[in-house]
């Protein structure tokens, strides 16, 4: 008989890669958060963190503002705003300038962005639930209303582009959230959207309620608690996957991804051992000894 409390939704996190990572907290709670732009499996944690791998389901940066998320989706649909290739030590993606700590070759940055947009498109199709951390009503905006990331020191904007920080009104936020939901629906009508309101990532904002966006204050509180080392991993994982809190029955937490990796490595090692000598492998010992026998 199926466990009424079991939840199996595929979960993604879009944004929130800033002062702390929602995706990391969820993974720590046992949620298999989708990763559509993964680092190689063997990457050292410090290297992954430096280059913002694993901090969300795609390397989109902090986002956290409805207009930024909306713009990203519009770009997935083919919109190509101008003024986003900034100049530092190499080219910098002005929509996510915090992601790559070093600039990229100018001739490659457009392809790099298109590859990122393709990953965002796959994310929207491949998950059942998408968590959208929201944290700010402020944004850096140019004359055309395009939202950019915060300009790092030493980085210059293209000539003719000026950005200024503005605070969006409640009406603007509502309007952008509506538009965002509509674009998500057009891309994947089955996708469940959940916003996570995280003052600790930015500022306190009175976020408007919008149809098509779920918001669970208990989930947010658990996220904050887990970030600080608190309990509640099981419930957080349950809620992240769309579980109904009234049906939650504490069980042994699902093993985290690291444990799965360790188990896979152990099985591979045992398999190799059981297999014995690989006829294709170079017989290094013989080769070494023969050279010294001459």
């Amino acid at each position: 008989m199926e466990d009424e409390g079991a939840v199996t939704a595929r979960v993604g996190v879009l944004g929130g890669d800033g002062a702390w990572s929602v995706a990391e907290v969820l993974r720590g709670a046992g949620v298999a958060v989708a990763d559509l732009e993964p680092a190689p499996k063997q990457v050292a944690e410090a290297v992954a963190r430096k280059w913002h791998y694993g901090l969300a389901s795609v390397r989109a940066g902090l986002l956290g503002h409805p207009r930024a998320i909306l713009q990203l989706l519009q770009q997935v649909n083919g919109a190509r705003p101008k003024g986003w290739i900034w100049k530092g030590e190499g080219a910098v993606d002005g929509f996510r300038p915090e992601i790559d700590p070093e600039g990229l070759p100018r001739e490659g940055i457009e392809g790099y962005r298109l590859a990122h947009l393709a990953a965002v498109a796959r994310l929207v199709q491949e998950v059942d639930r998408l968590i959208l951390p929201l944290c700010t009503a402020r944004a850096w905006v140019d004359g055309a209303g395009t939202v950019f990331g915060a300009r790092p020191k030493g980085v210059t904007l293209p000539s003719g582009v000026k950005i200024s920080e503005i605070v969006f009104s409640a009406d603007d936020l509502r309007s952008d959230l509506h538009a965002m939901v509509e674009v998500f629906r057009a891309l994947n009508p089955r996708l469940v959207l959940q916003v996570s309101v995280l003052p600790s990532l930015g500022e306190v904002v009175d976020w408007p309620e919008v149809e098509g966006l779920q918001h669970d204050p208990i989930f947010d509180a658990l996220l904050e608690a887990r970030r600080k080392g608190g309990k509640g991993a099981g419930l957080l994982a349950f809620l992240a996957q769309g579980g109904d809190i009234d049906r939650f029955a504490p069980v042994v937490a699902a093993p985290v991804a690291e444990d799965d990796d360790a188990e896979r490595r152990r099985r591979r090692k045992e398999k190799r051992k059981a297999k014995g000598d690989n006829p294709g492998k170079v017989i290094c010992e013989d080769e070494l000894l023969e050279a010294f026998a001459k």
Binding site: P40, V43, V282, D286, L288, E290, A291, F292
Partner: protein, 254 residues
């Protein structure tokens, strides 16, 4: 100069090359002692009281057979030459199967990454090899490091019962030279400051990531007694002969 050569099976090409140069009276002015252990056997060596001491009997026996002593007394040498020790371009080729950095051509179906990320990732990985660990045992001494030779270029066609690392895919895509350059840069960066990387000489390299056929010819017969053309990983004495003239100048410049 008293030189201590430490390596795995790839040390064989150096030994053959050294013997051939000596026979021709062309060996550099060095006193060379070899210490080798197959595969990753050098992993079982510890630094104790100024000696590199194997913790496994079979490794100590290898050392004694090749170098005359079951351990390496560090003060007996003016310089150290590390060869192989699990540093190979295969690591980048494995990465290249799933990822590609901006600027490469073979990006289809792969996660595209910044060149700086590829550099950081690979540098860290190479630093974690037996080469990096052994070099760190030799703090304060002159250390020269040579990676495992690039596999012979005939491997592009594939070989039965031989792992497919994707040499031909990388070369066909036009990425061989860029991958070779990334290999040299990241291995060099992975070594501790007292150690220096000696890249495989250009004359031996084909397509950036493979070794020219001449340096693999008969390697399997000469080294392991098998028929020719069965071992793309190990090189012959001609390869060793190309390496030796580079060793003394590099050590003197350190």
């Amino acid at each position: 100069m008293r030189l201590c050569v430490i390596g795995n099976s790839h040390l064989a090409a150096l030994k053959l090359g050294w013997d051939e140069l000596k026979a021709k009276g062309q060996a550099p002015d060095m006193e060379v002692t070899f210490f080798g252990a197959p595969s990753d056997g050098v992993r079982h060596v510890r630094l104790e009281d100024g000696r590199l001491t194997p913790k496994r009997k079979d490794i100590a026996e290898h050392f004694e057979r090749m170098g005359g002593t079951p351990h390496i007394q560090l003060d007996d040498y003016d310089g150290f030459f590390l060869i192989g020790l699990n540093v190979s371009v295969k690591r980048i080729l494995r990465f290249y199967k799933t990822h590609a950095w901006v600027g490469l051509k073979g990006t289809e179906g792969k996660v595209l990454v910044a060149p700086g990320f590829a550099r950081d990732f690979l540098t860290e990985r190479y630093g974690d090899t037996l080469m990096g660990v052994t070099a760190s045992h030799l703090q304060g001494r002159k250390v020269l490091a040579l990676a495992e030779p690039l596999w012979a270029e005939w491997i592009r066609a594939g070989a039965p019962e031989t792992p497919e690392y994707g040499w031909d895919a990388a070369i066909t895509a036009g990425d061989g030279e860029a991958i070779g350059a990334m290999f040299r840069a990241t291995v060099a960066a992975s070594l501790p400051p007292h150690a220096q990387f000696l890249p495989q000489p250009d004359i031996t390299v084909a397509h950036g990531i493979t070794t020219r056929l001449a340096y693999n010819k008969d390697a399997s017969r000469l080294i392991s007694g098998e028929g020719g053309g069965t071992d793309a990983a190990h090189m012959n004495g001609a390869f060793g002969q190309e390496i030796w003239p580079l060793v003394l100048p590099a050590l003197r410049a350190m």
